[in-house]
């Protein structure tokens, strides 16, 4: 029994060490000397580009976010409520809406993580510490890709909801007759 416990402990330790080293590799900070020189030389222009990206992404978050929020509250939730108020089966639609709301919530938190990481990267002095700057930038890059995936997921749920409305309509016509 003790041997088993010890084996399990070793296995867990190995998994933790391997995943930690994998994580370290994925955010490798090893800038070549040439790259470090380039970062130092172009620090000002890189910072300018990052500031522009920071501003344009913030605007995108506000404008896109508003549309995605409204899709959930003003359309999906309202239509679900109307079906519910008429005692109609809206389980399929509610399930898609819940998934959409969850994706929206993930988008909000992922964007927050990305924005904070980008701000951190912008604050680092790339003339003095190009490696840390690069590492921070790589992390922001990964976070931005996650935000992009969240958008794709929300768009998919928007399509799913449309399909669910079609399914509802087919079922509704079948149950009530085409004249309803």
């Amino acid at each position: 029994m003790k041997k088993r416990a010890r084996f399990a402990l070793y296995a867990i330790a190995a998994v933790v060490i391997l995943s930690a080293s994998g994580l370290k590799n994925s955010y490798a900070t090893d800038l070549t000397a040439e790259q470090a020189d380039l970062v130092k030389a172009n620090c000002l222009s890189i910072k300018g580009s990052l500031n522009q990206l920071h501003a344009s992404d913030a605007l995108l978050r506000v404008n896109r976010g508003q549309i995605y929020e409204s899709m959930g509250t003003k359309l999906m939730a309202s239509f679900n409520s109307r079906l519910s108020n008429n005692s109609l089966d809206n389980k399929g639609l509610v399930a898609v809406t819940n998934s959409y709301q969850s994706a929206l919530s993930t988008f909000r938190s992922d964007f927050q993580t990305y924005e904070q990481q980008l701000s951190t990267a912008i604050k680092i002095d790339c003339t003095k510490d190009p490696s840390t700057f690069h590492a921070s930038l790589e992390l922001a890059r990964t976070n931005r890709a996650t935000v992009r995936q969240d958008i794709i997921r929300m768009n998919r749920y928007i399509d799913d909801y449309r399909s669910a409305v079609n399914d509802f309509m087919l079922n509704f016509e079948r149950v009530t007759g085409k004249n309803s």
Partner: protein, 126 residues
């Protein structure tokens, strides 16, 4: 005429709190306001409100580009459900869905070292 007896003056010793009451009031007020401000800033940062605040330094350039009118039309949660009302909903929904997907948000890879022009020259692709 006889003088009225004067009341004896008692040299009352004021306690520390009695003596510094006003100062304590001011200090406590400042401390409470500092705590309240700290809590507000914490909530502002944690809740994600900061990300929606375009009046922050560096973001003023885009603050006038915010879409102030919500383009999504409300759909009433009350009313009958029939083929016509569902069709009305799908029309509104499709219009808004197209609007939501019109912009390919957060696409591309602007943080790529190639884009920021500091990629490793030895591994650069032609």
């Amino acid at each position: 005429m006889e003088d009225k007896p004067t009341t004896p003056v008692v040299d009352e010793q004021l306690s520390f709190w009695d003596e510094h009451r006003f100062m304590v009031l001011i200090v406590v007020t400042i401390l409470i306001s500092l705590v309240m401000v700290s809590i507000s800033i914490f909530i502002y940062k944690v809740s994600g409100s900061a990300q929606l605040d375009l009046s922050r330094p560096g973001l003023q350039s885009v603050s006038d580009k915010v879409d102030r009118t919500d383009p999504v039309t409300d759909y009433s949660p009350f009313g009958p459900v029939n083929k016509n009302t569902v069709n009305d909903f799908t029309k509104i929904y499709e219009k808004q869905a197209a609007r939501a997907k019109a912009v390919d948000a957060f696409n591309g890879d602007p943080l790529n070292p190639d884009v920021l022009e500091f990629s490793d020259p030895s591994t650069a692709t032609e």
